[in-house]
Amino acid sequence: MGINYFTPQYEVCRDPKKCIKCKVCMRQCANEVHSYDEELDMMVADDSKCVDCQRCVSLCPTRALRITKYQNEFKENANWTQQHITEIYKQANTGGVLLSSMGNPVPYPIYWDKLLINASQVTNPSIDPLREPMETRVQLGSKPQKLEFDEDGKLKTKIAPHLDLQVPIMFSAMSYGSISRNAHESLARAAEELGTYYNTGEGGLNEDFYQYGKNTIVQVASGRFGVHVGYLSAGAAIEIKMGQGAKPGIGGHLPGEKVGEDVSKTRMIPVGSDAISPAPHHDIYSIEDLRQLVFSLKEATAYTKPVIVKIAAVHNVAAIASGIARSGADIIAIDGYRGGTGAAPTRIRDNVGIPIELALASVDQRLRDEGIRNNVSLVVAGSIRNSGDIVKAIALGADAVYIGTSALIALGCHVCRSCHGGKCNWGIATQRPDLVKRLNPDIGYKRLINLVHAWDHEIKEMLGGMGINAIESLKGNRLMLRGIGLSQKELDILGVMHAGE
């Protein structure tokens, strides 16, 4: 065997004065970083296995542990960084495609952080959500051109099926397989109690969860895992996954390690087999094919459910969305390049796609230019980190947002980006029973509810500050935003003025 070029990324720092050798860290670490050295009578660590998930740090009863960056440094080079070099070593060792998880971590601009929100002063009153009604309920679905009423003022127009959200927040698609059963249960129960929706992802729906159907969006992806008529009928809406922000242009990717008995049954694939979805839907090679799938799914469910088409934010997203808006879809979901994933080729995650803020702004404007914005609802995803991001997204033109990573963080995720390994110490992105049980859904669903309630309250405070008392009056209300530190081109694309203007 040749030289191992690999250097650890993280260093486990243990304060020997605080360590009581209780071995909690050892039992908690699925990566087998910690061990007890009987000869030395002390805890030791293999830094090279550490993914910095912070599980041991959180559980150490004496706070003896800290994880830091490994202090070893390659010769400084702005071009050939340590990361680039290490990745070449890895690929030279294995000949493989580099895999990673969660959203794009590269320091590209984050436009949410370059947008500022307005507030009322003097000329109109801000509204206090503690004392006045403040509405954040949203209806998603296609809308008729106009409403007609009979002579008694009763509604004559038939409204297409739509989703009714008590908060403008839904849980993004995360498949059973990529995340654990307990994570799914937490999401489903939280969605039910919040009056919103969670999304099955492309892994089918475990029968135990059919009871949450009215708060479930069932996904149909290119692999068609777990798709049958019972599944389609179980949900409140059907989402066709054309793309995902973390990996535009390729299909879903579930390593065989995560395909156990139950996942295999739900997905309708053999135990232990990799579930690799085809890059395209093999029945959709063009927009007219999409229309056929949309209507096939509507036929299969007797036109009782809205159909969502989810796409990744790519360069030509505005034209693509315009095509989808005319294809019978009721809702378009757009996923930006910072959107999470359970496994994606690193190069794709880090280099393909565009920011959701720019994609959203250009799609919303394009649909308005064509006079068809009201035909569909727009849901955006791809790194919504807080309620401020949501307010900005809606002001740019979104109807609602999907949150994925934020929801997982609420469940304890520390964004260590190792989901593809299947050894999530937090019981979220794993199928190992001993790890899954670490996530208690009774606690998990409450944490999700807390998070969404907190954000909803913050949204109401910001709406009130702007003098708005219903979220629909914020939708596309770009005068409520100003850019900071942006070029004129960026401002033009976002359709906002610069701060001070």
Binding site: T123, N124, K146, F149, G467, E472, S473
Partner: protein, 364 residues
Amino acid sequence: MLLKEGQVRIPSGCAISGMFSREGRRISGQDIVKSISVMHDRSNGLGGGFAGYGIYPEYKELYAFHVFFDSNEAREDAERFINRHFDVVNLSRIPTKKHPRITDAPLIWRYFVSPLHGKLEESQLEEKEYVARCVIKINTRIDGAYVFSSGKNMGVFKAVGFPEDVGEFYKLEEYEGYCWTAHGRYPTNTPGWWGGAHPFSLLDYTIVHNGEISSYDANRRFMEMFGYKCSLLTDTEVITYIFDYLNRRQGISLKDCASIIAAPFWSEIDKMPQDMKEKFTAIRNVYASLLITGPFSIILGYEGGMMALNDRLKLRSMVAAEKGDLVLVASEESAIRIIHPEVDRIWSPKGGEPVIATLSGGEI
């Protein structure tokens, strides 16, 4: 450089007043001037205006265009356009009186017109739509020309100044109509442009408005999908277009229009009987982008009727009264009492609850 109205969005506070004779009696313009003048302190001399209905009975079948021109060149350009699209039956300068506090007046002309038959047919448009598009075209394409009134048997009179001075300037005491609305403006900078004063109008719809709507850009961007161009960046302009779109183009009753722009809260909808619940859920779903939030009190004038409406939280004052066949509405009670110290009924309409008066005697 100070930007003009239309180049920058200017919030403003205001006073409004309106009166309507359900029997169609013709009331002198003097009364409305008196009413609005009581609320002098609610405006700051940077805009005042009036709309009168039933004032041109001799030309009631013709569209009356009131137009501001910056120069004779602009007038010639606009007249060329008007002559290409309309049969001009009468044209003249609108009579005005020299007034020490009304200065920098543009050229103010009036045209009584009817669409050229051939042109109208060629356009394949309904007559009102044809007229509306021509008006929007003049206002957005011809530099220095601005049509500020374009309905039949009605007219808008407005200027930069206090409303009582504007009334004197236009000699409103010489006009009589069954309905009058008035506006005194308190903008937060000095645009100095007459077109920016209220009422704002399109065809026979006129709006006087007090408030600053927080939903402005959501409403504007929605309306611009349907061929409207919000060139003034004012609330009043977009509200007028919303009424034109819903009431004229979509045929929705004014009462239902009120339920769209000042929609009932979900908490109320949830308690409604099933058919009403379906109706209002559909309204909030389909016309979500036409909900208007933030403070407003508006008086909408139209051929044969008048509607007053507050935002659903009633963030602006507005009082309504009845006296015989008269329906009166104003920002302050004093503006009603100054004309009719004794009234049959006076009340403060609830937020989102429209007060509608029509010539057929209808009223809520």
